[in-house]
Symmetry: C2
Subunit: 167 residues, 2 copies
């Protein structure tokens, strides 16, 4: 009983430490001209990488804190598969970043602010979540399927390729 | 009447030309050891950038064809806002890439294969779409909110900052 309580307390403190780092990065980044977002990737109790939002600073719409932290961690660990790593992000990820969390196979995710908090200060996270749930033809981005009979050749070729690296 | 038909024919041929380029890139990329995906970004009838899937080649889980094409176009045009550009992608984007399409403010999107086609050859696109529709606590990535009362300070600071660049 006491043992379980002590372990819970230690784990919670451990998690809070990394979340506080992500939050500190998010606040610091505003002073540097970036958006109010920070992220930290942790493996075996150590920080592997950090990221802050650099959309405006780098002129890159994909440069969200989580994407940057994932790219840096992958480079550092030499793998596109971050199994065994956790991410601490100062805000619930947008669909782009949550997609990246899945592709990277991160184990656990901790977040501070919510997508509604982000919406309240003018960010599109919540809007994009709503759009993704719609059928392509009902989304605000006008979407058209073209030449599926030609596009499928790539997938047929991939299926027949024997020495491919899966991911 | 005839005029409309001719314009439709020309626009369709124009769109098919760029889609065929994206498809050619997707097939070529298999030979180079990458995944079967290609994308092209077009502005005013000219190709601004291209991208192919480099996840395994670059050890980067975010290196999907669309993300690479968007990053290259943003760098070339010197802006995180790609309003006025269209994207032609050999496969319906995954949530990560569709999120990026929104953040980049691309005008129109054309795709060849569907997310179901991608699922049929072993890719997780369809699974990730399903996960995003679930509440965070029901997703396969274990998700926990931490320290929201501390995280919100970044958003409050952002709101009070006067000379920020919005995106």
């Amino acid at each position: 009983m006491y043992y379980t309580l002590i372990v819970d307390f230690l784990v919670m403190n451990y998690n809070k430490k990394f979340m506080r780092k992500a939050i500190a990065l998010s606040i610091e980044n505003i002073k540097n001209g970036g958006g109010p977002f920070g992220a930290v990737i942790v493996k075996d109790g150590k920080i592997v990488s950090t990221g802050v939002n650099c959309v405006t600073v780098n002129s890159d719409p994909t440069a969200h804190a989580e994407i940057i932290a994932i790219r840096k961690a992958s480079k550092k660990l030499g793998s596109f598969d971050l199994t065994g790593c956790d991410i601490y992000t100062s805000c619930e990820p947008c669909p782009m970043c949550l997609g990246a969390v899945y592709w990277a196979h991160l184990d656990k995710m901790y977040y501070g602010n919510t997508k509604s908090d982000a919406k309240n200060i003018g960010f599109d996270d919540s809007f994009i979540y709503d759009e993704l749930e719609l059928k392509p033809e009902n989304r605000q981005v006008r979407t058209t399927q073209l030449l599926p009979e030609e596009a499928i050749v790539a997938f047929e070729t991939w299926s027949k390729t024997e020495d491919k690296v899966r991911y």
